[in-house]
């Protein structure tokens, strides 16, 4: 009797413990936002929100300092757009090939390759971008420097590819087999089935894949910092050096004095990044749930 009692207490305690554990992720997400706000909101003692978001100059150490992050936002946008214009067509085509066309053996190899590409540390990709890609771009366009938005876009394109491919492929695989069979039964070829039936039914999942690819591209730090040239000016084109939001934080935080305006301004950039990626993720998550055939959670 007594053993049963202690057993029950033990069971109850374990259950509580596991529940608390399950809540940590929500707690951590909140904590991240809280600490970004705690350190970042002080920046608005030194600059107004409008001057911060729309200011044209980022001179954090001049006197008085100027904290306009518009050049950085535009830099991030330019590099991300460039990257996506490469990785979206390639990524979706690869996803379709893996999910619908490739024979089982090839599929396993390609999926492993996608995983390996995602696993390469961004610093190593940045190193290759710096030593291989940048010199060739400099030569190809006869530029003063190979560290440009274009270099960053190409580098980023390959880093966003695994996200796009794996999530789009999940969405395509989740399309019920009955859809395809019905299409074959009507006499359609495999390709007709793919582009008239399978891909349209997986649209929401594919859109989610693109959104997460955007999130990945905006958040990427080290590789982009190494190959884009780090010029915090309003970008004029793909062949000019630019600087992104992420690179600014990574490059400058080491030099700031704790609790200086510069330090708080970098945290404020962190808030901007967190909010952008948070919205993208929430959007993607809600789209994925609407996908037909997805495990409804």
């Amino acid at each position: 009797m007594l053993r049963k009692g202690t057993q029950r207490i033990k069971e109850y305690l374990i259950e509580r413990c596991i529940l608390v554990n399950g809540l940590t992720s929500i707690f951590l997400l909140g904590l991240i936002f809280l600490f970004l706000l705690r350190e970042g909101l002080w920046a608005f003692q030194f600059t107004s929100l409008w001057d911060f978001i729309a200011g044209l100059s980022w001179y954090p150490v001049s006197d008085p300092p100027l904290f306009g992050i518009l050049p950085l936002i535009l830099g991030s946008l330019l590099v991300t757009c460039g990257a996506l214009s490469i990785s979206i067509p390639l990524g979706i085509s690869a996803a379709v090939f893996i999910a619908e066309v490739a024979p089982a053996g090839v599929r396993d190899w390609l999926k492993a390759a996608v995983e390996l590409l995602a696993a390469i540390p961004s610093i190593v990709i940045g190193f290759i971008g710096l030593t291989v890609l940048a010199p060739s771009i400099q030569r190809a366009f006869s530029l003063p420097t190979g560290l440009t938005a274009l270099t960053g876009s190409i580098t980023l394109a390959f880093m966003a590819m695994p996200t796009i491919v794996s999530i789009a492929e999940d969405a395509l695989t989740a399309v019920p087999a009955a859809y395809r069979e019905a299409s074959y039964a009507l006499g359609a070829t495999r390709w007709q089935t793919i582009y008239r039936v399978t891909v349209p039914s997986a649209t929401s999942g594919i859109v989610a894949a693109l959104m997460l690819g955007i999130g990945r591209a905006i958040g990427e730090t080290m590789a982009v910092m190494m190959v884009t040239g780090n010029a915090a000016v309003i970008p004029r084109g793909f062949l000019e050096p630019v600087r992104t939001l992420t690179a600014t934080i990574a490059a400058e935080m080491g030099e700031t004095v704790h609790r200086s305006p510069h330090y708080h301004a970098l945290f404020a950039i962190g808030i901007v990044l967190f909010v952008i990626t948070f919205l993208i993720n929430i959007g993607a998550a809600s789209i994925i749930q609407r996908q037909p055939g997805s495990r409804r959670r």
């Binding site: 057993q7 069971e11 374990i14 259950e15 596991i18 529940l19 554990n21 399950g22 809540l23 992720s25 951590l28 991240i32 600490f35 970004l36 390639l90 690869a94 379709v96 090939f97 893996i98 066309v101 492993a112 996608v114 995983e115 390996l116 590409l117 696993a119 390469i120 540390p121 961004s122 610093i123 190593v124 940045g126 190193f127 290759i128 030593t131 590819m161 695994p162 491919v165 006499g187 070829t189 495999r190 390709w191 007709q192 582009y195 958040g219 730090t221 080290m222 190494m226 992420t246 990574a250 970098l266 945290f267 962190g270 990044l273 967190f274 990626t277 993208i280 929430i282 998550a285 959670r297």
Partner: protein, 314 residues
Amino acid sequence: MSEIAKRREFCHPIGASGEVLNEICEAGSSGFRLSPRVTEKIAFFLLSLASLTILLPILVVVGVVVVKGLPALTWEFLTQAPRMGMKEGGIFPALVGTIYLVMGTIVIALPLGVMTAIYLTEYSWQGRLNRWIRLAIFNLGGVPSVVYGLFGLGLFVIFLRMGASLLAGSLTLAIMILPLIVTASEEALTAVPQSFREASLALGATRWQTTWRIVLPNALPGILTGAILGISRAAGETAPILFTVAAFYLPRLPRSIFDQAMALPYHLYVISTQIPGISLDKKAGTALVLLGLVLTMNLAAIMIRYRFRRRKRW
């Protein structure tokens, strides 16, 4: 498209006749158009080309790093501290620092992640809280790595007064890989058949006994895969450790978890962008060691998963 051509398209069953000309193109009254079969071939060819672009960057990165880095890879390179402003010597402290760092990370992240997965699969199958937790994990997975670095700086280094230390770095990396561990463990746990649980519960075992003795052992290979992937991710990341642990140059090994440490990815960053005049083979050698570590772990994880899936007893 003319009515006849349309009908023809439907009357040609896939791969039926040998009328090659007819198959290749039908120059009907509406002009030149490809037969569905040829269109399919072209489309599939283009799709396969697109998939090859996944292999291209892997081959370039691995190829360049191996070719340029292999000459630098000597026993001294792996076992000596950098000397002469990092122009000479090896990467020993950075290698050890990274090993310490990932050990700390996995010790923190694995129990937390597995317990979260157990909560999600064994203790609450659906409901609002479950959905919120999943959404939070999904979101944690999308937070940029440099934002984790800021968070680690704000909370661990400054607010909790840990300073830049192995502990602060491990905690930051642990939070970063938490979503990965949770997702992998969850997948492993859901793959255990429901009948196993029912059999155990029918024998009078409690829910925890069932989870601990039946479900977890059967999910172990999947959880292990997740842990290896988590370690590899933590070993390769730079941005989260920039402000939380990484030392620019520290030729001795860290003495406690409150010490700063060098780390391989940050060391590679430093010698390839911060200090001019470092020979290419030193940089490529460092990149090779890092890449070798990370890719070996990933290949191991992929293989464990593959073998486990084939050998499944149910």
